[in-house]
């Protein structure tokens, strides 16, 4: 990240704290429903992401603001995004395949 100018670092941080945190929080909420344990009532994986969404966003926002190592901020955001977007994509592919085999 030392390759980036001070100005570029500043804008990258704003991007990660602003739209970045919103996008990653939304995708994380969607993906969490697929890996969280369902719990005794079979609903924890559905309702916990809904409850935790504001806190996930706040955690991403403050991490982007306060971590001096911008590379680590980007890594956490991209990692969370890739993991959860991957899970959602896989679910869609599996659903489409199931529909095709039924049809």
């Amino acid at each position: 990240m030392a390759l980036l100018s001070q100005k570029a670092r500043k804008w990258l941080r704003i991007g990660l704290a602003g739209p970045g945190a919103v996008i990653v929080a939304v995708v994380t909420m969607a993906g969490m429903a697929l890996w969280l344990p369902a719990g005794a009532a079979n609903i924890d994986n559905i309702v916990l992401p809904l409850v935790l969404f504001p806190l996930i966003w706040a955690a991403l926002f403050f991490h982007a603001c306060l971590d001096r190592r911008l590379g680590r901020v980007a890594l956490v955001a991209i990692g969370l995004f890739a993991l959860h977007a991957g899970l959602v994509t896989q679910k869609f592919i599996a659903q489409s395949a199931a529909k095709e085999s039924r049809g």
């Binding site: 909420m29 969607a30 429903a33 697929l34 924890d44 559905i46 309702v47 809904l50 969404f53 504001p54």
Partner: protein, 527 residues
């Protein structure tokens, strides 16, 4: 105490300040109306002069519901919601669930409004979003709640806006905690003899620090409610149920049972109601019937949390036999961490888990949050005294919104009291607010900020004192009648308004006697 390095502290001060400046006034409007909406039920009873003692669920309702079932098309028997409206009257919504063209889950059916004798006084057919509008006798409390929930912006944009404001409040609360260098000391520091600016800084800090956990709680639960239906449910339904929101709703709120569509008269709802009250010691806040008129009918009663608890109570009955089945969690079929967490979000946000006591605490902390928002904006302006000429518009806007909003809300209450007996409160309540707002904005353009502030304070004080008198003059029940009817809340609200008006007049008089200091004050980073 959290010790951040200098650069990070500086950044957090900027984040704290700008989160307040950019969205602070809208946030103030949401928190202020939310603070009043804590007592929406009591304000409703006070403003409409409710004197009925007995709940609709304590009176016979079986015959009326059977008769409604006979006259309602069978397609709307999928669900029947029963709840109290107005002065302990009954609202009944026969409906079926449907998915709108935009994919949103909705209910469509016939909404009946019954009087205390079970006679139909209102009937509307349509979607839930359309039929549950304000009524003549609850226009004031509806107006307050709608301002708080969506700032009167149409869905989903209003909910998204208040959700974003919730996140801004979350940012302000967390950054406020992070920038406190002397948290414990600041909780108790009130230098009364210091300069007005430093004294205001102390009051901001003390009120902000004490209400910090509350601000965090409100912001978190508030943004949860705003984003739940607008963003959360569609996205989680897309990921987990291939976009089927009805399947998600059924998984979370449904009562899975083997379908048995054979016709069967509904069991005695009076028996269910009496049994539910006996078991919980609380009158139902809501009763839901699934599959009305079928053998597999189920009745769920919802109650306020019991003593010492914050999770609401829910009971399930067999609809055909009216026999008690079991107590169930509000969310899901079995107790679970997620279900309990969602179930307590409501009581934590509305502060209604311990009756008037918890409501009063929520009101007080809401007032502290409003105070912190307003004084925070003023401190931000004070720190930029050199640029005050270019920021004069903001100074004036803070005064117009900060003091104008309470005044406009009081004007809408006065408009309601005058219009309700004439049957036109649904129109005049928001109209009164808009007319008062227009007059306040015009005064804001014409008058200097400090003079406007004094004028608005006096107007608020006088209207606070005048409201109980207007209520009596427009036919509202007097104190003897309220005592006779067992409605002390009417008297309590009257006294609260008179005391608040007197206190504001006294405060205005004290402030006038102590001239404002204009000398430049140097504030610390934590400000």
């Amino acid at each position: 105490m959290i010790h951040l390095p200098k650069d990070e502290t500086k950044l957090m001060v900027a984040v704290h300040g700008w989160s307040g400046i950019v969205l602070g006034l809208l946030l103030y409007a949401v928190v202020f109306t939310g603070m009043a909406a804590v007592f929406a039920e009591e304000i409703g009873a006070w403003s409409a002069g409710h004197v009925e003692r007995q709940s609709a669920f304590e009176r016979p309702l079986d015959g009326a519901i059977q008769a409604l079932g006979a006259r309602t098309p069978e397609k709307y028997h999928e669900g029947v919601d029963l709840f109290e409206i107005g002065d302990h009257n009954l609202g009944v919504f026969f409906h079926h669930h449907e998915v709108k063209p935009n994919g949103q889950l909705s209910s469509r059916g016939i909404y009946y409004q019954l009087d205390r004798d079970g006679k139909i006084v209102g009937e509307q057919t349509g979607n839930a979003e359309d039929v549950f509008g304000p009524r003549n006798d609850d226009a004031l409390s509806s107006f307050l709640v709608d301002t708080h929930v969506r700032l009167h912006v149409p869905d989903p944009w209003g909910l998204l806006l208040t959700g974003i404001l919730g996140l801004a409040m979350l940012v302000a609360a967390i950054s406020g905690l992070l920038i406190h260098r002397h948290l414990l000391k600041d909780i108790f520091t009130l230098r009364r003899k210091a300069s007005p600016v430093l004294a205001e800084r102390d009051r901001h800090s003390v009120a902000g620090t004490w209400s910090l956990p509350f601000a965090f709680l409100l912001a978190f639960t508030g943004s949860f409610f705003s984003f739940y239906g607008t963003v959360g449910v569609p996205i989680v339904a897309m990921a987990a149920f291939g976009g089927d929101q009805e399947a998600l709703s059924e998984a979370v709120f449904g009562n899975p049972a083997k379908p048995d569509p054979r016709p069967h008269a509904i069991g005695s709802l009076d028996r269910i109601s009496a049994d539910a009250i006996r078991r919980t010691g609380e009158i139902p806040t809501f009763m839901a019937i699934e599959n009305f008129g079928r053998t597999d009918a189920l009745v769920t009663t919802y109650h306020q949390p019991g003593p010492g608890d914050i999770e609401p109570v829910t009971l399930l009955y067999n609809g055909a036999t009216a026999m008690f089945e079991h107590e169930k969690p509000s969310i899901g079929q079995r107790p679970s961490a997620g279900g309990s967490l969602v179930a307590i979000m409501g009581p934590l946000h509305f502060g209604n888990f311990a009756g008037l006591f918890s409501k009063a605490i929520w009101f007080g902390l809401g007032f502290a949050t409003c105070y912190v928002t307003l004084t925070g904006l003023r401190l931000w302006l004070t720190r930029r005294q050199d640029d005050l000429r270019s920021l004069a518009w903001l100074d004036r806007t803070v005064v117009v919104v900060g003091f104008g909003l309470p005044l406009a809300l009081l004007a809408s209450a006065a408009a309601f009291l005058v219009a309700m007996p004439l049957g036109s409160a649904v129109y005049w309540t928001p109209a009164g607010f808009l007319l008062a707002s227009a007059a306040i904005i015009a005064a804001g353009i014409a008058l200097p900020a400090r003079r406007l502030e004094r004028l608005l304070q006096i107007a608020i004080s006088l209207l606070l004192i005048a409201l109980p008198l207007i209520r009596l003059m427009t036919g509202g029940p007097g104190w003897p009648r309220a005592i006779e009817a067992g409605q002390p809340i009417i008297i309590a609200v009257d006294i609260a308004l008179l005391v608040a008006g007197g206190w504001m007049l006294w405060l205005g008089k004290t402030r006038t006697a102590r001239p404002r200091q204009t000398r430049k004050i140097s504030l610390q980073p934590a400000e």
